[in-house]
């Protein structure tokens, strides 16, 4: 997967989230991604950014957005969100849509996961959280 471009956005306020959405949308438009997919990508970014502003230390973190290309030449937008927060203790539970505790609405990380093509999370107690997601421009 070759990296085309890269931009780092510090997430400290709602305005930063808007910047990230805008940046991702611009890259998506450049790839001629369908408008519905642009919307889903922006929504996924909002959900993972919300995770930072809600759970990270001082609500701070950063988002890296760039274009990627896979071995078959397919292009997409990749978003990496990082924070130095407390990390997620029970990852499986955090991703299983809250059904074990009941009444969850499946937003947040599990919601974001469903909106994109690739989703990866690296976390643990005390080590912060890094979420990586990719939305490909052409559908599979």
């Amino acid at each position: 997967m070759a990296r085309d471009t890269s931009e780092r956005i510090a997430i400290e306020s709602d305005a930063d989230v808007v910047t990230a959405r805008q940046r991702a949308r611009a890259l998506a438009i450049g790839l001629e991604m369908p408008s519905t997919d642009q919307t889903l990508l922006a929504t996924a970014i909002s959900e993972i950014a919300r995770n930072i502003t809600t759970y990270a230390v001082d609500g701070r973190g950063e988002v890296l957005i760039d274009l990627v290309r896979d071995a078959r030449g397919r292009r997409g937008v990749r978003v990496i969100a990082r924070d130095e927060g407390p990390g997620i203790e029970d990852l499986e539970r955090a991703l299983t849509d809250g059904y074990t505790t009941g009444g969850g609405l499946g937003l947040g990380l599990p919601g974001a996961r469903r909106l994109v093509d690739e989703f990866d999370i690296d976390t643990g107690p005390g080590k912060g959280t890094t979420v990586t997601l990719i939305k490909w421009a052409q559908r599979g």
Partner: protein
């Protein structure tokens, strides 16, 4: 879902936010649509409410140009994106529910199998049930279970489900789980299916759980089998056997140890050739019941058999038994009562020397229906006092039957009330005049079992004998 107020609030805020977006087309303004949609989902508003809010916003702007329509499309799309998240979640959670439900089915099958497997007392049955369950619960083509021999003398055991092998795949998919019991390897449980089958982690977990419960059941069955074999074998080996045929003597015995699953108690009897061409018939009762008493019956019988080779006086044999009981090491002393008879069997009559060590006197059933005790009461054997024993000589003639019995026959109680005692026994025997010994013993046993309502509180033994009727007797 939702109330009018929230819905109206949504419409107003939607309209206002849309106006802002129409003015600057900024990402910030578009983000407001996402926020509105997310809030609507959290407030459990309907997607139809968002559609209506959208149209009231359209009415407010009152413009049909392409630019406005395009902005409207962007804004509506953004406001619906959270609904799309939930929509996708539905399909996902439905799959989760389906998988959980499947897991429930597997676990329930496992629970049922657990009951069935643990209800089996033989290792063979457990193995077959386990193989069948393994195949069924993971829906596989075949399951095999094999356990090692416990002991170099035993064979390894296997079971397969289904029992007949098909040709099968050359390279099937397979998973297996080890069977272990008390820290030792017992064997292995394996499941195979067509090569394209992919077993899930849950299949493996279920198989492991099954292997675990089968291991416990196998271990229990092995332990049970071992103890049961010892218990059965010892009880059967120690139990007095059938009476030997004795020319000129008709004899019958009935023997019922008290207690479920017990084959030997403290009562005993014997009939054997004594050293001098005569015979010995005896009945006895060791204090107590169950296996503790049973071991003493072996001592009593073997001691008297050996003594009878040297000694023809019943009192002499009983004195030796008394000494043997006193000499017993280890165990606390056990008392014992015995009625011992030394028999000389003649033509149509039996002459006997009789001694009773603490035992109820035997009863003679006369052909005329009279019932009389014979012998003289003596002392219990095995106690501190030197036993007082008296040999009494009795002759049984034609049609006379001597009935030896233990106190289990005459102390039948129900709710602390004696329901069959000495008086009832005598009354019953008075109806037995002229019957052969086997019929007499049968009647006594039947009466005792009936009085006990099938639940004996003490061992019961009955030994009845008399001269065999001699057909030529009156002719000769």
């Amino acid at each position: 879902m939702g109330t009018g107020d929230v819905t109206n609030g949504l419409a107003a805020r939607y309209s206002a936010a849309f106006a802002v977006y129409l003015a600057d087309r900024s990402e910030l303004a578009l983000g407001a649509a996402y926020d509105l949609g997310r809030e609507a989902v959290k407030a459990q508003l309907s997607v139809l409410d968002v559609a209506d809010a959208h149209h009231s916003a359209m009415r407010d702007v009152r413009a049909g140009d392409d630019a406005t329509l395009s902005a409207a499309a962007d804004f509506l799309r953004e406001s619906l994106s959270t609904f799309e998240t939930v929509h996708r979640g539905y399909i996902e959670v439905q799959e989760v529910a389906r998988l959980e439900h499947e897991y429930v089915q597997q676990l329930r099958a496992l629970a049922d199998a657990s009951v069935a497997i643990n209800s089996s007392l033989t290792v063979e049955a457990i193995l077959q049930l386990t193989a069948d369950t393994a195949r069924g619960v993971v829906h596989a083509g075949r399951a095999t279970i094999a356990i090692l021999a416990q002991d170099p003398r035993h064979r390894p055991l296997t079971a397969t489900s289904p029992p007949r092998l098909s040709d099968g795949d050359a390279h099937p998919a397979r998973i297996s789980a080890h069977l272990t019991g008390r820290g030792k390897e017992l064997g292995v449980l394996e499941v195979v299916d067509e090569h394209h089958r992919v077993f899930s982690a849950r299949d493996e977990a279920i198989l492991t759980q099954l292997a675990q419960l089968a291991s416990v059941a196998i271990t229990n069955a092995q332990l049970y089998e071992r103890e049961r074999t010892i218990a059965r074998t010892l009880q059967r080996s120690l139990r007095p056997g059938a009476l030997p045929p004795v020319h000129g003597l008709s004899a019958a015995v009935r023997f019922r140890p008290a207690g479920e699953g017990i084959e030997l108690g403290g009562d005993f009897y014997d009939l054997f050739a004594a050293g001098d061409g005569a015979w010995t018939a005896l009945i006895g009762d060791v204090q107590g019941k169950g296996p503790d008493a049973a071991a003493v019956t072996a001592l009593a019988r073997h001691t008297m058999r050996a003594a009878a080779a040297y000694e023809s006086r019943p009192s002499g044999v009983l004195r030796l038994l008394h000494k043997a009981l006193r000499d017993q090491t280890g165990d606390e002393g056990r008392f014992c009562t015995v009625c011992y008879a030394h028999l000389r069997v003649g033509w149509g009559e039996v002459e006997l020397d009789l001694a009773c060590g603490g035992h109820p006197l035997p009863l003679v059933v006369h052909p005329n229906g009279r019932v009389t005790p014979v012998g003289q009461l003596g002392t219990l054997l095995g106690s501190d006092i030197e036993p007082q024993l008296t040999d009494v000589t009795v002759t049984l003639g034609h049609g006379q039957v001597l009935v030896l019995y233990t106190d289990g026959v005459t102390e039948v109680r129900r709710r602390r009330q004696e329901v069959f005692g000495h008086r009832e026994l005598v009354a019953l025997l008075e109806t037995c005049a002229g019957l052969p010994p086997d019929a007499v013993a049968e009647r006594v046993e039947t009466a005792v079992l009936a009085a006990s309502e099938g639940r004996l509180r003490d061992d019961v033994a009955i030994l009845a004998f008399g001269p065999t009727p001699q057909p030529k007797e009156t002719d000769g």
